[in-house]
Amino acid sequence: METFEPEIVAFCCHYCAYTAADMAGSKRISYPSNVKIIRVPCTGKVDAIHLMKALEIGADGVYVAGCLAGDCHFKNGNVRAEARVNRVKKMLTELGWEPERVAMVKLSAGMGEQFAETARKFTETIRKLGPGPGKRTGIDDRAAS
């Protein structure tokens, strides 16, 4: 278990969290390299299936980073994303997995420091939980199917 390095997918909104990640980079605020960022035009675009598939094929944790409440560029994409994250949490619970493996966070474009902090905290949470569903039997090849 000591060698376990979590793999984390972060779906980041182009208008806020992704820019915040950029800012963290340009300010040289480091955050764990465990976090792989996927830029989305709006977190409203992130569906439950994206979170589930990520876990299924090897991610140990997934989070969605959208705009602050009321600040969505498309009105309420972040609200919808949060509802979907909650749905996936419920499904994971039903399946006996830890609901903490998925999360919703809200950031503004200027919150580079908070972005890094979120990444660190989430990585630690997942590190404590251990390997995710896809890691258990190492069926990473299903990523291709």
């Binding site: 589930m52 299924e56 499904m91 039903e94 399946l95 006996g96 569903p133 039997t137 069926i139």
Partner: protein, 221 residues
């Protein structure tokens, strides 16, 4: 449309526990619109079932397919090439679809993954409400376009009962009193005088009392 909701995950898991190759079949019609059993939900359920098996250190083969219409033999035929390669079928269609599949592929166990709820209409994103009971003798023409069979908790034809308060049904504030709605609509239409027409005891035969319903159109059959 026909509305449905996914069954509790554990119930589905128990159905398929003895099997390792599953054909998971969605439907492009009503259950797609009410987000219970369309392509998207098929993908999500497949993923959930994979996660379940991974938890137990097992794997499961799931072939995902979504038919144009699962209550139609023509489309159900599309499952033929896959059926011999699987141990069981899980259907995400309404009860009509499940039975059409089960009737066609007699050797495969077919399990429902959704609970069919009612014939309803969409009230907004993610909200559906019952609107029709399929009574077989539509009275909407004399009740101002609001159905007393589907929307009055007591199916009253000469309502409202004495339980209405603040315009809501006695069963709870989230249900409008159908007869309050009928009355308001009759007033809007200037048809108040129709309210006092007695509606006679209903003949329930067309709605199922005569046994399972069946329509045979001679010109089409």
């Amino acid at each position: 449309m026909i509305t449905a909701e996914q069954k509790p995950m554990q119930e589905i898991i128990q159905y398929i526990a003895p099997y390792s190759k599953i054909l998971l079949v969605g439907c492009n019609e009503c259950v797609t619109v009410c987000a219970a059993g369309g392509r998207k939900e098929v993908g999500l359920l497949a993923s959930a079932l994979h996660l379940n098996h991974l938890k137990q250190g097992k794997t499961i083969d799931i072939k995902e397919i979504t038919l144009e219409r699962q209550c139609d033999p023509e489309y159900v035929e599309e499952l033929a090439p896959y059926i011999d390669g699987v141990d069981a079928v899980v259907s995400m269609a309404c009860g009509c679809g499940v039975q059409t599949v089960a009737g066609r592929y007699k050797k495969s166990p077919v399990f429902p993954a959704v609970n069919t709820r009612f014939m309803g209409a969409s009230l907004g994103q993610g909200v559906w409400a019952e609107r029709c009971k399929g009574c077989g003798d539509c009275v909407l023409g004399i009740t101002g376009g609001i159905c007393p069979v589907a929307r009055c908790s007591k199916h009253l034809f000469n309502g409202p009962c004495g339980g209405t308060s603040n315009g809501q049904c006695e069963i709870g504030p989230e249900t409008d009193c159908a007869w309050r709605l009928i009355w308001e609509r009759l007033k809007e239409l200037g048809m108040e005088d129709r309210y006092e027409d007695l509606m006679n005891a209903k003949d329930w035969r067309p709605g199922g009392a005569a046994g399972p319903g069946k329509i045979i159109r001679e010109d089409l059959a």
